[in-house]
Symmetry: C2
Subunit: 225 residues, 2 copies
């Protein structure tokens, strides 16, 4: 597993670097954005981890350039706690995940692995988070032995959220992946669809699992934490 790690704060860099290597990753490290971008574009990494705030070309620009160049390598953004706007923009620009600093190296490792697995296209078809279970082949949804009928759209949205529990998705992202829109029409279909799912899940104990994140979007609640 070959990853690129762009981060200027040398303390963090060294620490994370060592951590990733311990987990068997081969890590290339850059301490500035220009170098980082060059490296990302000219190598074939399994994943790229970008700090948003780095000298030279910043993380978001790197991401934007990569996507414009049609490079679909999975990208994980590292952001400071308060950089919510950047995070949001990053997701909409095509980041695959983000992690707020400070974080545990294990957390980063897990996210990298998840993101790589996902991009490799091997998808689990039995999803279970909390009491909710999805069978993506039969398209059955159950919660404490009870089952609900979801429409195609509803199922797709729920599946999308449940494939990355805990991760927040913007409405734009959802529209892109679940609706296939490649633009951002002013519509509230996502909201409405979420409501419809909630209404169906409520009576069978699936209440509260789709959370709203004000100003950002929606996420499926993680069991623990």
């Amino acid at each position: 597993m070959h990853v690129l790690f762009v981060e200027d704060e040398s303390k963090i860099a060294n620490f994370v670097n060592a951590g990733l290597k311990e987990h068997g990753f081969v890590v290339d490290h850059c301490d500035n954005g220009d170098q980082g971008y060059e490296s990302a574009i000219s190598n074939d990494y399994d994943a790229v981890v970008l700090d948003i705030m780095v000298p030279g070309k910043d993380g978001l620009s790197i991401l934007k350039s990569l996507r414009r160049a049609r490079r679909n390598v999975p990208v994980i953004l590292l952001t400071a706690r308060n950089e919510l706007d950047d995070r949001l923009e990053g997701l909409n620009l095509g980041a695959d995940d983000y992690l707020a600093k400070p974080f545990f190296v294990e957390e980063l490792v897990a996210r990298i692995q998840a993101v790589v697995r996902r991009s490799a296209g091997d998808r689990q078809h039995l999803l279970g988070v909390g009491p909710l279970k999805l069978d993506c082949l039969t398209r059955e949804v159950t919660c404490n032995q009870h089952s609900v009928e979801l429409t195609t759209r509803e199922f797709n949205l729920l599946e999308y959220l449940m494939r990355s529990p805990g991760r927040v998705f913007t409405r734009t992202q959802v529209l892109e992946h679940v609706w296939g829109y490649d633009f951002n029409p002013s519509t509230n279909v996502v909201d409405v669809c979420v409501q419809r799912i909630r209404k169906k899940l409520d009576p069978i104990g699936g209440s509260g699992w789709i959370e709203s994140v004000r100003g950002v979007g929606y996420r499926f609640r993680q069991s623990e934490s």
Copy 2:
């Protein structure tokens, strides 16, 4: 892999018996239906291979009794070439597959394995037969790079047929598995649905893959043979 084999003609029995064992199966053999039924009901086989014409309780009765007793062990029927009616009835009674005599042992082995795999619930989600490809997770249908939009019902029907290429399904079977009907209403929905699929597949080169078998039902064409 533990299978029960009910067959009275000793020549065939010995031959097949030996063949199955060579392929690593553990085989129990009965040469009459009464014994066969006892054995099937009291043991926990991975699959049961039934000759329709055996002394004592015949194959179809055994099958019927098993299903009435809610035993879902996979059953493969062996029929003579001319026993089309029995075959048809057998399928409707819940047989998982059938094989017309004479057959190659390899063929039987393959069917047993397919049937066991299916009943174990591990389902392939990428189906490709001939030029047609189904992704059961994304529910995309493609044929020579082109893709079509199928409705839920249409997709389910196509998937059902494609999971057993070459095997003929009666309308009753299709209604049972794709529509979930547990009775046989006089309706031609299956016909209509098949037409709709064909009409969508035609323009992208998927013509002729769903075959009608006059007097019986439909089947998805096998690439070879």
